[in-house]
Subunit: 389 residues, 4 copies
């Protein structure tokens, strides 16, 4: 899981990654750092502190002899799931934590950054470097969540706040049409190499795939509006059983963040409310909707293995692409001992794999073998649809 990048690069990469989190927060007021309106979305302040806590708890406290923690309670306040490390603040109550305030969290970041830079300058061990690299990728994950969570919080405000007027993220077009044929055969799946990967991408293994054709482009807003106008949300036969229940109980009739105003479709974006472009790539739909759309089309979603087998021959990276593969361990998958081991394996049930990356993913974080995962009803990520026939 450790890449062979040399130490100087680690220092540089660490500094850049840490700085990018701060850059993302530049448009925010102190007030914007606080809310957690849904359990699944954490406050910006928490993302800033939690990613910092990772470096302090997993590296500085363990590998720097005389390290003094910034604040004895922060470990409790800003860990996440890692139940092997003492009690944790209740996940659903993160929005009540106004203190430490934003300035104190930035001071916490500075303090940990300084100690980390000192450590990285001093030729740390391979074990430390492996954790640093994990910490960097961990922070990149939270950079994407920071944006999607903020978008969700802002979306609940009836005045539709603007994060950055030049940052709507959803109007990407630029797609290649057509279908890509992949032949039947044995394919190698999973990560192997000297770069970084998460534990759930290991170990590389062989799968046998029948032939299939996969679309070179993702489904557009216009295509999804056709589905809607054809009664897609009201037609039982397109939906999985749980999807149909979801549609009716939650009264779903459009993608998340969409509004129909005087007969025209708009979506709320980080740049405010903007018209829906027909040829832009659809976003913010659940697996249920992705599956129903594919059924309506007489097609289907790819499996994660099909996606990986085809990925090198097609463009991807605008949306997290729903696959019809459950998030399960690869052969030989083993949960690490200790807190880091809780990273991924615990969640391998009742979630679906999404492949690719999205417009909100930090540059350099994407990987062909990357396995993102969410429950089927997830919509607040930049999720999209790629079809297979």
């Amino acid at each position: 899981m450790i890449s062979e990048t040399t130490p100087p690069d680690f220092l540089q990469k660490f500094i850049e990654t840490r700085a990018y989190s701060v850059t993302l927060c530049e448009p925010l007021n102190a007030e914007d750092y606080i809310p957690q309106p849904r359990d699944f979305a954490s406050p910006p302040k928490w993302h800033l502190a939690h990613t910092t806590w990772f470096f302090e708890e997993m590296i500085l406290s363990k590998y720097v002899a005389d390290y003094i923690v910034f604040h004895p309670k922060f470990s409790f306040l800003f860990n996440s799931y890692y139940q092997t490390i003492g009690d944790r603040a209740v996940r659903a109550e993160r929005g009540a934590i106004t203190r430490p305030n934003v300035d104190e969290v930035y001071a916490y970041r500075d303090y940990v950054n300084e100690h980390m830079c000192r450590l990285l300058t001093a030729k740390p061990s391979q074990a430390v470097l492996a954790l640093v690299e994990l910490g960097i990728h961990h922070e990149q994950q939270h950079q994407e969540l920071l944006l999607t969570d903020l978008k969700h919080t802002f979306s609940l405000n009836p005045i539709f706040p603007v994060y950055r007027t030049d940052f709507n993220l959803v109007d990407t077009v630029n797609q290649t049409d057509g279908w890509l044929r992949i032949e039947e055969g044995l394919y190698e799946i999973g990560y192997e190499g000297d770069g970084f990967c998460f534990d759930n991408e290991l170990g590389k293994h062989t799968v046998f795939l029948p032939s299939f054709e996969i679309s070179k482009s993702l489904v557009t807003n216009g295509a999804f509006i056709e589905f809607m106008e054809d009664g897609g949300y009201e037609t039982f036969s397109y939906w999985l059983d749980k999807g149909w229940t979801w549609v009716r109980e939650q009264q779903i009739s459009r993608p998340l963040y969409w509004y129909k105003i005087e007969g025209k479709w708009y979506h709320y974006t980080l740049a405010g409310l903007v018209p829906v472009k027909m040829d832009a790539i659809l976003s913010h739909i659940s697996f249920y909707e992705a599956h129903a759309f594919a059924t309506w089309k007489g097609m289907r979603l790819p499996t994660e293995f099909e996606w990986e087998a085809a990925a090198s021959k097609m463009n991807w990276g605008q949306r997290w692409e729903w696959t019809y593969s459950a998030y399960l361990p690869y052969p030989g998958f083993k949960i690490d001992d200790g807190a880091v081991g809780e990273y991924n394996g615990k969640f391998m049930l009742d979630q679906l794999v999404l492949r690719g990356s999205s417009v909100a993913t930090p540059a350099g974080h994407e990987r062909i073998t990357y396995r993102n995962f969410f429950p089927a009803n997830t919509r607040w990520q930049f999720n999209g649809i790629r079809l297979v026939k």
Copy 2:
């Protein structure tokens, strides 16, 4: 409902009341203004804005000819229940409203204050003065809620934030022992006079009461600990049916904000975590607990009529005192037409009356005929117990 206080006093009272809301917020960071961790508790920023909205919506917009609202969306963001005035922001989502930010809300207050002062200086009509007086009392209600809501938010933070070190509010002692006997007879209940009262205190009416004895003092922490140590929370027979369900389902075993640390009781207060004083007055208990305690004692809670008949002869004002009276209309009660009419009558079901006032009630807001009301499970107010035998 309109008092005969003359206009100059109104101006003075308006200015003082508005200033006191700001004073209460002095110890807060911008971050503290935001959270709404429970539906029942609103953010400080919302309290500041909502009380301002009342003056703008009910008075300035209606009675000042050329008045221009501060912001066209604020009416939507900061109204409360008043469904007769357009849509309202969902009550449970107040914690997601980071914008307008705190500074903008203070600007809103200044703008409305200025226009109100101009209006009050210009000999307004009796109708306006009646609304101003209502607005002042409305703001006082929210001043108390601001403190109790803030305490609740802070209590969810594992580091137990301090609002003001000199403001714990719960260590009041100073009580007179003994029992007060009230004789059988006819008593006049409800408000009559030239001061202010809420609609639910009207009209004055006669009730017949049998004789009873009422305690001159409120139940202390020490007395409640006796109940706890005698198995009070585990003994079915002391509890109403709904109370017993509540105790078991919520796993209640102590007053809200209490913690047992190394064998000693502490409570979280606005001054942080402090030891429980045995002779101080108990606070933060539900009606269920109040009723169970009284049953355990072989006594009972007063009715609101008994309380009012005895009030002039005893000390009160440290805690809201639970009565065993449902919150129902007095004879002849009539809901006003229009938005102000929604003030109280809508809530006259499945709530209990609390009488008196609390250490968090702004000076001058208390009244012998005052009827506060909450559901039986309410604990985040400064509620206490007075016994009758």
Copy 3:
């Protein structure tokens, strides 16, 4: 609470009451005795067994020296709330208890009846007679519940089963129009005398009432349809806050058991589906609907004291009449020690008093001082509306 009826009458009354329960079940198949589709509605078999259990547990086991219980587990299976008597079968699971089967429950009834008759023939003590009388009235209460619960179970069956074709219970008309004026003054409330009453009707006490006018008749189906057609269910201002939430969340738009078929209103009755008669008395509405209807009319519901003060001068008995009085203890009310003491007092919170009696109430069970009580959303009883102005 013990009436002075002499023992022979008790024997006669006991036999008649026990026989009437059996009569009520004559139209039932074995299958009909089983379901409990909602927590609030118990199966017929449970009613038959529970009322029998009362006589066995409270009288035979305590007062008959060598009495052997019919089955050692029945005490556990067929008690109700009485938590002072060991564990009880979970209330919501009564519908899973297929064994003992119906025949065994009838054998249980016969066995207990025989022992009770023997006891009643042998000059029992006053203490026993008081319990017998309580048991008789207890069984009468369950006779009414048996009918209302059965109606509810049958109503969930899409083929609308018929209990008895001559037993629709809701088409009663026969009302006197006009208003009855009651003058201001002191009135005596509560039971006093040598007959039977429940503990919640004691003790007799004085109340002062302002003058009022009360309708001589109950609201008809036709009048309620006017309310519906005038948008009653869609108009916020008619409803209490909790009522409005209830209407929207439960999507309520008509009385329980009503169906609109090809433009005409029908209701499901124990005689099957029948057309709604315009001049028949409305039934199966919640307190919320009763209150909203009265508000729409510009009138109000009576208090329970007003009802009792007027009752001797008006006809009542077709419907349980909602009052706007919370179910609370009368002055001096004291919960009995022991299991019988759990009868009523435990439930004195968040319920409303209904006065009168209904078409389903066994003859002789009604009483001017009788206090029935249910939560505000209760609709499966034969509830109706009487207005006051």
Copy 4:
């Protein structure tokens, strides 16, 4: 999906299968046919009627020219999920359907049986025979559910009813120890042949498997008690995240139907309460428990492909064996048009595959390629654990 069995065999198989459902109900009273205490468990009467409805609706009504349905409402009362066929009775309300009664349902069965026998004697088309075969297997599925549902209903009765004293089903021992090694390679998965299979077993396809060792025996009660006594239910690290939430929220600490009485373990069986035999095969555990047990052992559960690759070389059939494979479509899976098409595909989300068959599975219903499926918290089936290392 149609087997090549000749018509006479179909008639024989039809008669036998239909008779076996009746045999299973012989120990029941009329009352036992009614309850549905949980949404997932249907009443015996419903199973009898629903399996009959399948033959009437899918075959007789479509393929017999002058066929008159037994009762026009039964199609509505006794269909299940098949939403393409009109409205259906709400699944959760099956326990309220006392009428038609048990005798009428048996008359329904006789009527349909007679018409089916007539049809089968008259050289029906291949299309009809395919549906008959499907109907037979459908009824066998419901025979197993009838037993597991009945066990669940009976288990809620505090007197632990006995279905048949010779039918406890859980004390099977007779296992072979040791491990079976399966080599890396390509394996054929899925059904191919001239017998019957369900749509979810098609089409046959190739998978590549790494080598593994699979246990020849299932986990015993004794082994599971070791897990329990080693703190298995209290140790976070053994559990998937959702499993840990389930254990704590549902307060799970033992297999379903287990009771500890005076220090010894008992389980409730269809023969009543019996002691747990240490060397008998464990049953009634969820996927969560199966996974936690395997983790505690340092092993894992098989995938469904591993299971199928090994099945011909090992004994199976006592328990449904949890696999760590999500229930997803095989390559080329296609949902049929029409009502039969809703059979399986709708449910391919958030469920796990179980392989093998159980002691409650009717003889002849099991198949190496059979894919049973349930959500991870399912315990009322006869589920067991087979380990892989």
